[in-house]
């Protein structure tokens, strides 16, 4: 550091406006309780996280289901549960785990009827939908819900609530989807009462558009490994060009630190001509094919 800079920093250190500031232990404890003990914050955020992407990515199914994609089954053997057995239709892998059954996908390209057969053979009322997804989501479970019931995301799974009480479906970790959340599988109570619908990502067939796009910086995606934080639009354009990627659309960043639950990016599409290269990329969503992304941008850094 130069002499001038050293003196300036010394001067600033001597005039630190917060040198007398100490955290109040009571306030500190209350703040910690509010963060960790708050029962609504995480679920709300997680739910919004998903629904936001759902709004972006779910489009009417128009794809023709022809031509089988070659996808290797993903079956991981957990160390602390019973042996894995394939269902009669060999679409799902089941493992008894106490009062729960761990379920993973054995054949990501199976006919949906085969999944229903396997679930039914275990007495489970589960409907599995397969959606063409971008690479980081293939082979993962992306969403879980219960028709007509409230489903809340919790740190260790999902709470399905109705007037009779709650049932819990646990997550099985082991996936890396960047800032999307996804699961390697689910653990369902043996005596599950509620019907459950699960959305599972499968590989898109040739020419088929993604129904669900993942984090474009996640493994296998077009911007894999790129840290977009505070990158300018020009920088991201350059990186995309190097990787033969394209920008499907620009979306306006929300004005607040955290977008309200009602913030719908599809209502805030910007004309490309109005987006300057000097603007900042706040976030990126995958596009409808492997090479395209949607950029959330603003004139200010995130």
């Amino acid at each position: 550091m130069t002499n001038d800079l050293k003196q300036l920093t010394s001067l600033l250190q001597a005039h630190d406006p917060a040198s007398h500031v100490c955290a109040d232990p009571i306030a500190l404890s209350a703040t910690l309780d509010d963060i960790i003990g708050n029962p609504t914050r995480t679920p709300q955020t997680a739910k919004r996280h998903w629904s936001r992407r759902q709004l972006l990515t779910l489009i009417p199914v128009t794809a023709v289901l022809a031509g089988a994609a070659v996808v290797l089954p993903i079956v991981m053997r957990p160390s602390d549960v019973g042996p894995i057995t394939l269902g009669p239709a060999k679409a799902l892998a089941f493992a008894k785990n106490g009062d729960y059954i761990d379920i993973r996908i054995a054949d990501p390209d199976a006919d949906p009827r085969r999944y229903r057969e396997d679930f039914a053979s275990h007495g489970l009322n589960v409907d599995l939908q397969m959606e063409p997804s971008s690479p980081s989501l293939v082979g993962t479970m992306i969403s879980i819900s219960s028709p007509g019931k409230e489903t809340n995301y919790r740190t260790d799974g999902f709470e399905i609530k109705d007037e009779h009480g709650s049932e819990w479906v646990k997550r099985i970790e082991g996936t890396d989807c960047g800032n999307m959340w996804c699961m390697a599988g689910v653990s369902i109570p043996v005596n599950l009462r509620s019907p459950v619908e699960i959305i599972f990502g499968r590989a898109a067939r040739p020419g088929e558009r993604y129904e669900i796009a993942g984090d474009p910086t996640a493994h296998g995606e077009i911007l894999e490994g790129v840290d977009l934080e505070n990158q300018t639009v020009a920088e991201v354009k350059r990186i995309l060009q190097q990787r033969n990627g394209t920008i499907e659309s620009y979306l306006e960043a929300p004005p607040e630190p955290f977008p309200s639950a009602g913030w719908d990016y599809t209502e805030h599409v910007l004309q490309p001509i109005s987006v300057l290269d000097s603007w900042y990329v706040h976030e990126a969503f995958g596009g409808h094919n492997k090479k395209s992304v949607r950029l959330v941008v603003a004139s200010w850094p995130r």
Binding site: M1, T2, N3, D4, L5, Q7, L8, T9, L11, L12, Q13, H15, D16, P17, A18, V21, C22, A23, A27, L28, T31, L32, D34, I35, I36, R41, T42, T45, T155, D156, E173, N179, E229, N230, P255, E256, P257, W300, P301, R302
Partner: protein, 179 residues
Amino acid sequence: MRDEAGFTSMFQKHYESVLRYAWRRVGPADAADVAAETFKVAWEKYDRVPQDQPLPWLYTTARNLTLNLIRRDNRRDALADLLVEDLTRHGTEEDHAATIAARQAAFAALSTLSDGDRELILLMSWEGLDLRQAAEVVGCSRSTAAMRLHRIRGRLRHLLGEESQPITDRQPSFGRSVI
């Protein structure tokens, strides 16, 4: 599943640093809110917080929150008010006029820097970060930060006069507003 014990430990260890960071940028009224919000974000994204050195990540988040707050309220940076207040509080008769003027000139020079350049200096002065960590917080590479420092030095020289004269020995700079 997130590590509640690990987060609690990080919170207890670094909350005060983040509180002070916020206090220095937005003043006492909003500092606690910014600090709390910073750790809420950290809790939500705990798997992305570097476990070995979380402070730069926390400062980055706090910085984004303070920038949003300042922009949202369309208000000027509270830093100016804080420094003026500090000068008033400390700049009493025991100080030589030249020293007071030197402070004023230095803070005036600081105020002419761009937000990013100024933040770089403040992070290294007040938060005690090294160049690499400060660069991480303002969102640039270490080499870019080094280049910025070089540019800042040139700017300081230009604003404060001759290179050979250290800023603390400067004569009063009449007519230059403080911040």
